[in-house]
């Protein structure tokens, strides 16, 4: 690669999200690889932790601001911030500017970051293009539209088109693909019983599609769905869309037994 092309490559700060960071690093690697295949230079600021959504939704405004300032400072130097989560990207894009509405300097910085913040499938569809295709993937899948991505960022067709284009997968749509799975961050712990009722409705809809794999763009929902499927003994697999797009299907699906490295 010549230096000129190298310089032209947009630099993406990968906001990996706290859930991927701790519980599913594969999604982080898959995202980085996808961004590279789309011609971006990927950097991972080591100062990133969480977008602050748990604090924000708990009503802790001052704490949310402190966390948001860390994210803004860590990422404002890049051409883009990309996150493999509609929920975290939505937090940064839609809510950061609101949080700082009374602090002009930070509001401006939050708005500047918001403009260049994207959820992964949104970014791969709208800002860059990805031509590499993975070897034919023979899975039947259904897609769960995570709430924030769908309603805050209008992510609906992007993941479906990418799956078809990159992996040759066409989806079996659930009738209630847009229905909340009952995760809701701290909600699923504080109101575990209601959350269980909601995830049961969700998995009934997913199973009715006859697909063998559930895909989605938000690890929160996917952990919730996979956790319930495992508990009720379902064989359905759950994966983040990035894993499928990158072709790393030999990594066990969420909560399926991992091969222990010797």
């Amino acid at each position: 690669m010549s230096d000129i092309v190298k310089n032209k490559a947009p630099v993406v700060g990968l906001f990996v999200t706290c859930l991927v960071d701790t519980l599913r690093p594969e999604v982080g690697f898959a995202s980085a690889l996808l961004l590279q295949r789309a011609g971006c230079r990927v950097e991972v600021p080591l100062s990133q932790t969480c977008c602050g959504q748990p604090a924000y939704n708990a009503g802790a405004r001052a704490d949310t601001k402190a966390i948001a300032k860390n994210v803004i400072t860590s990422f404002e130097g890049y051409d883009y911030l990309v996150a493999p989560s509609g929920s975290c990207a939505g937090m940064i894009k839609e809510h950061y500017p609101k949080i700082f509405k009374a602090e002009k300097k930070w509001k401006n910085r939050a708005e500047a970051l918001a403009i260049k913040t994207f959820e992964l499938t949104q970014f791969l569809s709208e800002e860059v293009s990805i031509n590499a295709s993975t070897p034919e993937t023979r899975i039947t899948a259904t897609y769960h539209d995570a709430c924030s991505g769908l309603r805050e960022l209008k992510i609906k067709q992007q993941p479906r088109e990418l799956l078809l284009k990159v992996s040759g997968i066409s989806l079996k749509e659930g009738k209630e693909a847009e229905r909340c799975c009952g995760f809701g961050g701290l909600f699923c712990v504080k109101y575990g019983d209601i959350s269980t009722g909601m995830v049961d409705e969700k998995i009934a809809d997913l199973e009715a599609t006859g697909a063998e794999t559930v895909l989605g763009g938000d690890l929160g929902c996917l952990l919730n769905i996979a956790g319930r499927l495992k508990r009720v003994g379902s064989s359905m697999e759950v994966r983040h869309i990035a894993e499928v797009l990158v072709g790393s299907l030999d990594v066990p699906a969420i909560l399926k037994t991992r091969k222990i490295k010797k």
Partner: protein, 484 residues
């Protein structure tokens, strides 16, 4: 109405295990929302109408005093009386006053959520006046001694068999052999009971979907026509409505009507839309001799100018309930007071106090479906979050949740500390979870693990792995794999 909103968790737990309720909720979930979607699709300007409706209400709320005074003038000009009431007590007393002056023994009522709010039925009964609900759903729950579980479909929690049992128990004149196995038969049975009540009532009480400042009219929307019999047959008509129901003109009212029924039930228009403008005029053949409007505040004016003002745009269509996955899981009674669903979770703390309804704003995933369908574009998730902020910042009390959040925030704000702590926790979890690949129990996460497994981590955090340059080897491995 007495509140049991503080028992939300217990009520929700019971609701989840009520087979009749769950069956009823299963039907509700798709029915109303599909119909709304179809109705919106059939009207290309629907989204624009929502904007227009919002603009009308925002304008009213900025000029509420002006429109209320104008409405009052018009009501008086039309021969009616308007009674300003600050709270439920004042409204109850005023209504009783009017009934006593008329020497009323029975009062027919059409569906009114404000009636529930001020618990007018219990109050009238205590004062030896018999209130009779005439909306079929309200009639059924009145017989059963229940409260509405949905703002537009009060008996939605019941199935036909339960209604039949209620009628057989309460209608003493009902012949045992008579069949009540179809909705039509149930309706006929209720109608046969109600017909005389309509004719004999001394006073009719209705709610109002809107008040029109231009004309002094009150607008009523129903599907059964019972409201019309309630306000035309008795000698006295009392309308109970809260301040925020006022709109400037007839045209504004029709703009809002265009989104109301579509959002509520997916109908273009409700079956009956009635404009009541004062008592019977000299040339009128029907109508009441007296027309009273009880204009109730009951906490609304405190929301004006507050961060919750947007809530006053609500037109009580019920769309947010119909689309709420939490409501669909637990039904309306679990919310513990008059209202339910997302609008209830915002409004109840405002009307009875956050300390008495602390669970309601929290029992939501903030999925945003309510805001997406609200015809008045009320930012319901944002308002729920605003209550949470009040809770978090307003109380000195340190709950376990608050302490844990504070600890977590301390780590999140300090990336190095965070990384170290996370890697430590992941290491421990990996050791314990290695065999099974997941956890069925974790400390402080019973809410999750009671019904879901939690994955065992696969190693240190992504960021730590990236820092060590593990990406390159992974990439090479993946590329090799692709070449094969």
């Amino acid at each position: 109405m007495e509140s049991s909103a503080h028992k939300f968790k217990d009520l929700a737990f019971t609701a989840r295990r009520d087979a009749h309720l769950q069956a009823a909720l299963g039907k509700l979930g798709s029915g109303f929302s599909l119909k709304r979607k179809e109705a919106a699709r059939r009207l290309p300007e629907f989204e624009g109408l929502r904007d227009q409706a919002k603009t009308i209400k925002d304008h009213v709320l900025e000029n509420l005093d002006f429109y209320l005074e104008r409405f009052e003038e018009r009501v008086i000009e039309g021969g009616g009386e308007l009674h300003w009431c600050g709270d439920a007590d004042a409204a109850q007393k005023k209504i009783l006053d009017i009934c006593r002056k008329a020497n009323a023994k029975t009062v027919t009522k059409s569906k009114s959520m404000i009636g529930e709010e001020i618990a007018i039925n219990e109050f009238l009964e205590k004062n030896n006046i018999e209130p009779i609900e005439t909306d079929l759903g309200e009639y059924i729950i009145q017989l059963r001694g229940e409260t509405p579980s949905h703002i537009i479909a009060p008996a939605v929690h019941l199935n036909m068999g339960q209604v039949e049992d209620t009628f057989r128990e309460k209608h003493t004149t009902l012949e045992p052999g008579r069949k009540l196995d179809e909705p039509q038969r149930l309706l006929e049975e209720a109608r046969s009971q109600l017909r005389d009540k309509f004719l004999n009532a001394d006073v009719g009480i209705t709610g109002a979907n809107m008040l029109i400042a231009e004309t002094g009219s009150t607008v009523l929307v129903t599907n059964e026509g019972n409201a019309d019999l309630t306000h035309t047959l008795p000698r006295i008509h009392i309308v109970i409505a809260t301040l925020e129901k006022v709109v400037p003109t007839l045209e504004d009212a029709t703009s809002i009507l265009r989104v109301l029924a579509r959002s509520a039930t997916g109908q273009e228009m409700s079956v009956y839309t009635t404009f009541c403008t004062g008592p019977k005029k000299s040339k009128d053949e029907d109508g009441p001799d007296e027309y009273h409007v009880i204009l109730l505040d009951n906490g609304r004016s405190e929301l004006l100018g507050s961060e919750f003002q947007d809530m006053l745009r609500c037109i009580r269509c019920g769309a947010c309930l119909n689309h709420c996955p939490v409501y669909q899981t637990i039904g309306g009674h679990a919310y513990g007071w008059v209202y339910s669903g997302p609008m209830g979770a915002v409004l109840i703390p405002a009307l009875i106090g956050l300390d008495r309804a602390g669970d309601l704003p929290n029992a939501s995933t903030l999925c945003g479906q309510c805001e997406a369908v609200c015809p008045m574009r009320i930012p319901l998730p944002g308002l729920l979050r605003a209550w949470r902020t009040k809770q978090f910042e307003g109380s000195e009390k340190n709950t376990l949740g608050k302490i844990l959040l504070k600890v977590w925030v301390t780590f999140v704000k300090s990336p190095k500390l965070y990384r170290g702590a996370m890697n430590f926790i992941l290491m421990i979890l990996e050791i314990f979870g290695r065999k099974s690949g997941g956890f069925q129990w974790l400390p402080l996460a019973k809410g999750w693990t009671q019904s879901r497994d939690f994955p065992s981590p696969a190693g240190p955090t992504f960021v730590s792995q990236w820092k060590k340059g593990l990406l390159m080897s992974d990439q090479e491995e993946l590329q090799k794999r692709q070449k094969k």
